[in-house]
Amino acid sequence: MLLFRSEEWIERWCKKNNLERGEVLSVDQVWELSKLWYHDRLSMEYHGRTVEQAEEIFRQAGLTSAFWHVQR
C-alpha cells in the first residue's frame, strides 16, 4: 500500500503504470483501521486471524464494500 499526496496523484500513478485503481482511504481512515488490526500483534495470545475475523475488523472500520470481502 502506497502513500499519495492526493487522489490526483493516484490517478496519475495508475495511468503511468497501466494499473487499475484499487480502494483509496485517507490516512485518518487507515489510522483507525490500524488500531483494530495491529493492537495485539506483539501479544503471545495473537495466533493469526481467520478470513471472517479479518472481515469483521474491516466492518468495524466502516469498510463494507466488496473490495474488503472474500467471495464464498
Partner: protein, 165 residues
C-alpha cells in the same frame, strides 16, 4: 511443549525481538532463545510463512516482513521509543506505533509515491497530525484526511503477491 505451542511462542519472540531491536531475529537466535534445535526453528519459520504470519525472503530463512515491521529499508520510517523502524508500506507505518501499544509518541517519515513529497506524521496521545515539506524547504501543516493510501488489490488477493500488495 507441542509444536503448535512452539509455533506461536516463536512468532511472539520474532515480533518482540523486532520491537526491541528494530531487526528480525535469525533462525539461530530464535532457536537459542527457545532452547530448540536450529532445524526445528527453521521448520517453524517456514510454517509461519505458510500461514502468512511472517514473510521469508525466497529460498531463505531470513525474515523480510513481520507486518507491520520490515526487515529491509523502505520509504516508510517510524521513530518511536528512541528507535527507528522501517514499515513495509503506508498502512504498516501507521501500524508500528499501534503494535508498540502507543507506549510513546511516534514520528513517521514517509515519501509520497509519484509526487515525491516528503511527509512527516506525528502521533501524540493517540492522535495523528501531518506536515509536508514544500518547495524552498519550508514545512506546512496538512490535513491527514487529504493524504491518501492506495490499496491496489482487494482483500481476497492480498496474499497472491505480498510484495506488490
Amino acid at each position: 511443549m507441542s509444536n503448535n505451542a512452539l509455533l506461536w511462542q516463536i512468532r511472539a519472540f520474532v515480533y518482540n525481538h523486532f520491537a526491541d531491536t528494530i531487526r528480525p531475529p535469525s533462525v539461530e537466535e530464535a532457536a537459542q532463545h527457545l532452547n530448540i534445535e536450529i532445524e526445528l526453528a527453521g521448520t517453524l519459520y517456514k510454517e509461519l510463512h505458510n500461514r502468512h504470519a511472517l514473510f521469508l525472503e525466497p529460498e531463505t530463512l531470513n525474515i523480510r516482513m513481520a507486518n507491520p515491521f520490515s526487515g529491509i529499508p523502505t520509504d516508510f520510517k517510524v521513530h518511536a521509543d528512541g528507535k527507528s523502524y522501517y514499515a513495509n508500506c503506508a498502512w504498516d507505518m501507521l501500524g508500528i506505533p499501534v503494535a508498540l501499544a502507543l507506549r510513546n509518541d511516534a514520528v513517521i517519515e514517509a515519501i509520497c509515491t509519484e509526487s515525491d513529497d516528503r511527509v512527516q506524521l506525528a502521533v501524540r496521545d493517540g492522535q495523528i497530525q501531518a506536515q509536508a515539506a514544500v518547495p524552498g524547504g519550508d514545512i506546512k501543516s496538512i490535513l491527514t484526511s487529504d493524504l491518501k493510501i492506495h490499496f491496489p488489490l482487494p482483500f481476497a488477493r492480498w496474499y497472491d503477491d505480498l510484495l506488490f500488495t
